[in-house]
């Protein structure tokens, strides 16, 4: 009788683990996974929309203060998130993210490569962790100064 109870307990435990574990894995997203998800989403929207700031999902990825700054700054020849001018080159690019620098105050520096045949470009994404969620705080080019 006792053995039966133990077996039921173990099986119930395993079932609970099976249900809860994938959710726990989702919650523990790394800065690299977040940046890759953002850019895979962004590259599609970049070619679909005239104005990315009209995209409702943008504040889910980008820090509000950066959005406010970019709106205040107005139009530019350079698209901020890819640090590149008007081009079709980023269409269907693969987003490659590998390493990360862990900075102070929950800031992460993530190099992002955009790759396809005969084209390669890179930006550096600065990601901030606010209330257990990642947000793009800033994006830099890889050129001098």
């Amino acid at each position: 009788m006792r053995i039966r109870q133990i077996v039921i307990c173990v099986l119930t435990g395993l079932l609970c683990l099976g249900i809860l574990c994938p959710k726990a894995a989702d919650a523990a997203q790394t800065p690299q996974e977040f940046v890759k998800e953002f850019y895979e989403w962004y590259l599609i929207k970049h070619y679909e929309r005239d104005d990315i700031f009209e995209e409702e999902k943008l504040p889910e990825y980008v820090d509000e203060s950066l959005i406010a700054y970019l709106k205040r700054r107005g139009p530019s020849d350079i698209y901020y998130f890819i640090q590149f001018g008007s081009t079709m080159a980023f269409k269907d690019c693969r987003v490659v993210v590998k390493d990360v620098l862990n900075m102070t105050d929950d800031v992460f520096v993530v190099p992002v490569m955009f790759k396809k045949e005969n084209f390669e470009s890179a930006v550096i994404a600065y990601v901030k962790k606010v209330d257990a969620r990642f947000k793009i705080a800033s994006v830099s080019d890889v050129y001098p100064y």
Partner: protein, 156 residues
Amino acid sequence: MKKFLLVCIFLVMTLLQPCPQSAHAQDVESFVHDFYKWYLKQSLATDDRPIFDEAIFKYVCRCTAKRVQFDYNRGVSADEADYYQKGQEILKESLEKFMVGKSIAVNESLSLVPVSMGYQKEYAPDIVVYVEKTKGRMCISKVEFSPGPNLRAPVY
């Protein structure tokens, strides 16, 4: 036959030895460490930023060093902080306590190096140093402050 085999093994082992030149090549972290040691020392000694010192070209890429000089001369700075140190004051403690963390590679020619300026006791990096490697030579191409966005003034 045995002698031939021994010679072959010796040859292979010799080829597998690291090249003497690469063994002496400076790593990116110690290059950045040397730069800040020199920069902070010079700043404290002369009571002025050594951005116009010719020795800066030993560490900083020519176009970056020139642009920093240009901005200094025209009184332009995004946050009135020193470009290389991202602070307004050079403290003696910085020279003693600054720390350089482990670098990551963006691609074959560019690495990012975290630097902690030593205002706090523990390692707390908030400066990102971009180091370019071309033809076996390293130079600092950009320095950024990680908590704030890049708001440098346009050059044109």
